[in-house]
């Protein structure tokens, strides 16, 4: 495969000055994207023992805190819209982890309520966060810094 691998240019002086910003190494958001993918992959072996995906786990985490809420509130909490949440919640309903009813005071609103079975998963998930922190391999202060930077991005972009 040497005929394929040896094509990389050794420097970029032939490119216009501004093209340096289009080099992958200089991208800020690419590591963010890759790290997010990698973390979700790292969760998988633990979550599949609970027959959950990462997003399903996030939804349950909200519901462990707050027994029930509507789709809009859930979407605001997770920064996701109904196109993502509706099919996901149907899958959680099929697994009998949540119930999807309608609000009596507002027939548009869908009330998502965790079931006993859904609540029971919480204890089985106890060890997961710590295991992930180990896998990620950052100190507590660095983890906090990372989370703060990400939250800053979120408030700037969305808010």
């Amino acid at each position: 495969m040497s005929d394929v691998k040896t094509q990389k240019v050794s420097n970029n002086e032939h490119l216009p000055e501004s093209a340096a910003s289009l080099l992958l190494e200089n991208q800020v958001c690419f590591p963010l994207y890759s790290a997010s993918n990698a973390v979700i992959r790292a969760y998988r072996p633990y979550l599949e023992k609970l027959d959950l995906t990462y997003l399903q786990y996030l939804v349950l985490m909200v519901l462990w805190e707050q027994r029930q809420l509507n789709v809009k509130s859930l979407g605001e909490r997770l920064n996701l819209n109904s196109g993502t949440l509706t099919p996901l919640l149907k899958r959680l309903e099929t697994k009998r982890l949540v119930e999807r009813s309608r609000s009596k005071s507002d027939e548009r609103a869908r009330i998502i309520k965790i079931t006993e079975e859904g609540l029971a998963l919480q204890s089985r998930a106890q060890g997961i966060p710590e295991k992930l922190i180990c896998k990620v391999g950052l100190e507590s202060a660095e983890l906090k810094k990372l989370a703060d930077l990400c939250r800053h991005i979120l408030s700037t972009i969305d808010g």
Copy 2:
């Protein structure tokens, strides 16, 4: 909707001590995941002018640097596997931005080569990185810190 919104528990003292780690606010990886989604959303308006998705843009960025390479090298560069890359590269081929040939020295290897049309997109993409940095709203030093933390995660998890 007050019947839905007022269900949040005011504190978590009724939960076992260890359950605090299962609160969404205390998750480290959730902001990472949300920020990554938000950044990709933020790219969209600029990239759709070039008829590109974020991942297609990343692939082209590699190819602007290195005219051609095989799928394996591309996957190592982007931390993605053939299940993601193969269909993506076919779409780029349909748009005539890349060509997919076979290596003569190894018939298994697929050589991905950027076309003139693909190269021409580079100049149209010049302004994008700067616009995104503005949208993200972090200082240069903070961006570097974020990228370094993400790269640290990647090297720990994958490597």
